[in-house]
């Protein structure tokens, strides 16, 4: 640990701690903003702000660390916030967490910029024409009560992102009290199809993957190092996988049409024709020759020649992969976004799971997951079916009152949904928001939320590792803006409108949370411990570790019903596949207004602050396009204009535009930067699950004649080292890894 002497975990009573969290000694720019101002000693100019009351661990100039949970994505990494003089300065990983073990990705670290963002909503806002008018909380609550009066449960819809823990419980209770079942849990980017396929093949939605045990990882478009499921955890396992055992370094093969961060780290990156991942999986099963029975029967047709023709992967390469998979065991085969994003995504995923089973990986590198023994706290997994259903309801004008929390559907819904127009049809729209994002701007009432670093909460990660855990989220400093509220507090306030008696014991969400945790003290491993002690320990650790319940794992992937369509014919009018790129730092765009993330170059293209259209140089040459050309990308649904970046890591038949940018709201750091590919996304659905098939949009591109300088970190030499040894590389037959420490 850094600074271990000054790392003092919170020890006192939580109410003391709230005192401590008061901002102290920060007077404008005076403390930090020094640098190079006055150059001589001054007397009596500045005021030194001191404590009124102080605890033992409250020492000015000494950083104190508090544990909490990262809320930037759903992976559930535990964080360790450095607090000084009442200000949270930096987020670091909590070493005690089995998920991130003291590490934290860039997205997670930018959490402080979510908290300190200058564009946060600070007051409850009520629509008045085109403007938001600041109102009091009492008025806001009253207004909601008024609007809900006499509205039946059927006419209420609550759209939210994935929620878990006590907030999920409370939200459920609130919706029950309203008598509605219309809770739409929506995540724009979620492995929903893979979950369904896994459930079919293994009996669980998300098994535990053991990269560290695998000798070969064959990933069909799963960007597990960048944005897939639990990247920080997977990255750590990846490091072990690369180190291997006895110098036998793990081999990563990535199959996808557009290179992801994981693909960029692969030993072999295979650019397949979009949508043919499943075909390749079957082809490999065929080449392995290990399958029997109906599987063998199924793959018989997938001989190398055909597979090579359909996928564009050479037969030699298929042989090599098959040989490697045979030689090095266990291996791990993954299906990710690229495989599931088609109308036949389930089939792709099933074929890939079949390969896993043929290789005998189930039980070795694919293990049974654990979960918390509180099913009501298990995360509700968001998907796009929910959005579709809600959109249908909105279009039909079914809803009188609509709530929106932790989702930005106006921004992330495919253009073909015309969600914005449909949303307008709802009677009264309430948005719980940190910023005035696109959806909040459409709402009639915006309720400002506390940032994740100000709020209380519990969070249960979907993807658990060793044992189960419940993560505690707690304030790292006092409210930055006096009039924001925690989501839990708001829900409690709302639920009290309905069930005042039941909840009158809970003064606030904190009390509710404390009560709920202490109620289950025994199950949480605190049997026989004093309430206060247990609670304080829990807060100190920031994690409640549990044995958890293990779901058993099956291996019944079967060939039954597995039909893979032939590679899609090129559409004459829209010849190119549009692949929405998901980047590690921007994800679905909810954090685009964090300047560190905007300025952190995209790892592959090194572009900052803008969107781009990735085109293979060959294709670009064909179309007469060079880097920086502004092109118009047109689909059946719509069109956007963006700069071109020539990128060899993409299939020539596809182009890619990253998602996350292109906001026309959300404050100074997000608004007006880049374009939003969701806008031109067609409404094509996955056949088996009804999920939105994100990769199925076909587009054409045309030059606009404009050209810009692409804003990127890469210099004029591009990705070349000009013969100088800058980034060294060596192939495995020339290196002896066993000599390393």
């Amino acid at each position: 640990m850094i600074d271990s002497g000054s790392v003092k975990q919170m020890a006192g009573h939580p109410f003391d701690r709230r005192d401590f969290l008061k901002v102290l000694g920060w007077s404008g720019a005076a403390v930090a903003l020094s640098g190079c101002g006055n150059t001589s000693v001054e007397d009596g100019r500045e005021t030194v702000v001191s404590y009124v009351e102080a605890n033992d661990y409250m020492v000015p100039g000494v950083g104190v660390y508090f544990n909490s949970t990262c809320a930037q994505c759903d992976a559930g990494c535990s964080i360790n916030g450095r607090v000084r003089e009442g200000r949270v300065l930096k987020l670091e990983g909590n070493p005690d967490s089995a998920i991130n073990k003291g590490r934290l990705c860039g997205l997670g670290q930018a959490g402080v910029q979510h908290h300190y963002n200058p564009d946060r909503v600070r007051e409850p806002l009520l629509r008045n024409g085109n403007k938001g008018e600041a109102i009091s909380w009492e008025k806001a609550y009253a207004l909601i009560a008024e609007k809900l009066a006499g509205v039946s449960g059927e006419e209420i819809a609550f759209l939210s992102g994935g929620v878990s823990g006590h907030l999920k419980v409370l939200l459920g209770n609130y919706l029950d009290s309203l008598g509605t079942k219309n809770h739409f849990v929506y995540e724009a980017i979620a492995p929903s199809v893979v979950r369904a396929a896994n459930l079919k093949a293994f009996g669980v939605e998300m098994p535990r993957y053991r990269f560290d045990k695998a000798q070969v990882v064959l990933s069909f478009g799963a960007d597990f190092l960048g944005s897939w499921v639990s990247p920080v955890h997977f990255s750590q396992q990846y490091a072990q996988f690369r180190k291997g055992v006895n110098g036998q370094r793990g081999v990563l093969i990535q199959v996808e049409s557009k290179m992801t961060l994981t693909g960029a780290n692969a030993d072999r990156w295979l650019a397949v024709k979009p949508g043919t991942e499943g075909v390749l999986a079957l082809g490999i099963i065929n080449a392995l020759g290990m399958a029997t029975g109906e599987v063998a029967e199924l793959v018989k047709g997938y001989d190398k020649a055909r597979v090579s023709r359909e996928t564009g992967v050479s037969t030699g390469q298929i042989d090599k992969i098959a040989a490697l998979l045979k030689l090095r065991s266990p291996s791990l085969v993954l299906a990710g976004n690229a495989a599931e994003g088609y109308a036949h995504g389930s089939q792709n995923a099933a074929a890939i799971n079949l390969l896993n089973q043929v290789l005998g990986n189930v039980g070795k590198t694919i293990e049974a997951p654990v979960s918390v023994p509180f099913p009501q706290m298990v995360p509700s997994k968001g998907n796009t079916v929910a959005l579709k259903n809600m959109n249908d309801g909105l279009a039909a004008g079914k809803y009188k009152v609509v709530f929106n929390f932790a989702a930005n559907p106006v921004f992330t819904a495919p253009g073909a949904f015309k969600f914005k127009d449909n949303f307008a049809k709802a009677g009264f729209k309430v948005a719980f928001a940190h910023y005035l994002d696109e959806t909040a701007l459409q709402a009639d009432l915006v309720l400002p939320l506390d940032s994740a670093l100000e709020d209380w909460g519990t969070q249960v990660p979907e993807y658990m590792t060793e044992g189960a855990q419940i993560n505690i989220q707690q304030p790292l400093m006092e409210r930055l803006h006096a009039n924001t509220r925690g989501m839990g507090d708001i829900l409690l306030g709302l639920i009290k409108q309905k069930k005042a008696d039941e909840y009158k014991g809970f003064e606030d969400y904190y009390a509710y949370l404390r009560g709920a945790v202490l109620q289950n003290k025994g199950a949480l491993g605190g049997g026989g411990v004093e309430d206060d002690t247990f609670w304080n320990d829990t807060l100190t650790q920031g994690i409640v570790k549990l044995a958890g319940t293990t779901t058993s794992l099956a291996a019944h992937a079967s060939a039954a019903g597995l039909v893979l369509p032939a590679a899609a014919e090129a559409d004459e009018h829209f010849p190119l596949h549009l692949i929405p790129g998901v980047t590690a730092s921007l994800r679905d765009g909810r954090h685009t207004n964090q300047p560190w993330l905007q300025e952190s170059p995209d790892p592959l293209t090194t572009i900052v602050w803008d969107s781009w259209v990735e085109i293979h140089p060959k294709k670009a040459a064909e179309l007469g396009i060079v880097e920086g050309d502004i092109v118009q990308v047109t689909s059946k649904t719509g069109s956007v204009k963006a700069q071109v970046y020539l990128f060899p890591g993409i299939h020539p038949e596809a182009i890619s535009i990253p998602v996350g940018r292109g906001h026309d709201a959300m404050g100074r750091y997000a608004k007006g930067y880049g374009v939003n590919p969701f806008q031109i996304m067609d409404a094509v659905f996955e056949a088996a699950t009804g999920e939105l098939a994100m990769h199925e949009t076909r587009v054409k591109i045309s030059k606009t004649g404009q050209r810009v300088l692409v804003v990127k970190d890469e210099g004029s030499a591009g990705a070349l080292q000009m013969g100088r040894k800058i980034a060294g590389r060596v192939s495995t037959d020339q290196v002896d890894l066993s000599k390393e420490v």
Partner: protein
């Protein structure tokens, strides 16, 4: 044709030069106004830059130096020919220098002042400039004497102060003349003060001769050292394209070259503006032109040597920079430099152009442009194409502020120079008298010899 007519009356010399102090042609005022306008623009740019930050120069993190440093070297270089004319030719007893060395010497002084200005303009924290001065202070720290920039500062300070003193000492007899001939007023008071009571006594002349010679002797190695130290700013560094052994002589040659070209330009301007046709004669101009031609060829040779050395060596990074100069973004400027620096001076090889004033004026401006481009081509390409390919940047282009400042420096220089020429005699009266006197003696001697032969 003669360098100067022997039959000019000494009184007329006084009269002509004194007239230049009072009554120049109208063009003088036009030039002064333009110079002032240009300088004023630069002042505006500097205020903006000072307040906003160096970013307005549009330089960036690999390309941390831009036009300012290039122009700095240009002005330093310009200063060298003054010394060439006043000191080297003095030691060589080339008496044709006498009518023109004064303004050349002034050019040295003012171009050094302009160069000094660029040091200020370039620095990111001008308000902390005093950190770079070696003086005992309450922090107890000193500047870094290892830095070529500090050598630069010391060398320029030495050169500037020595040049000013040299200019002043050489001007004392003329100041006495001006004192004696000026109408009473502030100028006469100024001349009286500066002439230090000079009366031309034998003791004064005796010491004057030795002093002048001694300082001239000091100035020559000093001038060479100054520009080799400026060259060290680059040659001492590790960067490809800069770390070149031949840089010091190359810089000195370039300095003399640009200085000579500037002398031709100013010669032509002064000759017209101050009606100095009798003194700044075409034969003298012809001599300067020939000198310039010789230096141009030396410069061309050193250029070729540098390229050949880089080309022939195994230093791939330097080679890459050279190729980039020739073919990359900077190619037009680089080839422009070669054209202006090595091809244009070939005009001087033709006798009929050697005294053709319009041609010479145009050519001298082109040469100056070429030499400015040379400095830019030394600074910029290495930054854009250094050791580390990731940071290569071929897109950088100086901003309007940077160009404005460069433009303004010419205004500032012209302003100082023109004011000097109006306030102080820009032709050395006593030395022109000497020149006339010696040539008369010589003429008499040869006439006598001729008569004797009869």
């Amino acid at each position: 044709m003669k360098d100067i007519r022997e039959d000019i009356a000494w009184a007329k010399i006084n009269q002509d030069v004194m007239k230049s102090l009072e009554n120049p042609r109208k063009l003088y005022w036009v030039i002064l106004f333009l110079a002032l306008a240009a300088f004023g623009f630069g002042v505006g740019c500097e205020i903006y830059q000072y307040r906003t930050g160096m970013g307005v120069e549009n330089v960036n993190n690999p390309q941390v130096w831009g036009l300012y440093i290039a122009t700095f070297i240009f002005w330093i270089g310009m200063s060298h020919s003054g010394t060439l004319l006043s000191a080297i030719l003095h030691l060589m007893h080339a008496d044709w220098r006498k009518p023109i060395y004064r303004f050349a010497e002034a050019m040295t002084t003012f171009s050094l002042m302009t160069a000094g200005l660029f040091v200020m303009v370039h620095i990111g924290r001008l308000w902390q400039f005093y950190y770079s001065l070696p003086y005992p202070n309450d922090r107890g720290i000193w500047p870094n004497f290892q830095s070529p920039l500090l050598w630069d500062a010391m060398a320029i300070f030495t050169y500037l102060s020595s040049s000013v003193l040299f200019l002043f000492v050489g001007m004392i007899p003329d100041l006495a003349i001006a004192r004696d001939n000026m109408q009473p007023g502030w100028r006469q008071k100024l001349y009286t003060l500066l002439a230090l009571g000079w009366e031309g006594t034998d003791r004064q002349w005796r010491n004057f001769r030795v002093t002048y010679l001694t300082i001239a002797c000091f100035l020559i190695p000093l001038a060479v050292s100054v520009h080799s130290i400026v060259a060290s700013d680059f040659a001492m560094s590790q960067q490809p394209g800069w770390h070149v052994t031949s840089f010091p002589p190359y810089f000195v040659a370039g300095a003399l070259y640009s200085g000579c070209a500037a002398i031709i330009t100013l010669f032509i301007i002064l000759r017209y503006v101050f009606r100095f046709e009798t003194y700044m004669t075409l034969p003298i101009l012809k001599k300067i032109v020939r000198l310039t031609f010789a230096i141009a060829m030396v410069w061309t040779y050193l250029n070729a040597v540098e390229f050949a050395a880089v080309w022939y060596s195994h230093d791939e990074a330097s080679k890459a920079v050279l190729i980039q100069k020739m073919t990359g973004t900077y190619a037009p400027f680089w080839w422009g430099m070669i054209f202006c620096g090595s091809v244009v001076p070939l005009v001087f090889a033709f006798k009929r152009f050697q005294t053709n004033i319009p041609v010479l004026f145009a050519v001298s401006l082109l040469l100056n442009l070429g030499m400015w481009l040379e400095r830019w081509m030394i600074v910029a390409p290495t930054f854009s194409h250094g050791y580390y390919p990731w940071t290569w940047d071929h897109e950088q282009w100086p901003s309007l502020v940077a160009w404005g400042m460069v433009f303004a420096s010419f205004g500032w220089f012209t302003l100082l120079f023109m004011i000097f020429c109006k306030v102080f005699p820009s032709v050395s009266m006593y030395e022109v008298k000497e020149m006339v006197y010696h040539r008369t003696l010589h003429l008499k001697k040869s006439e006598n010899a001729e008569q004797g032969a009869h």
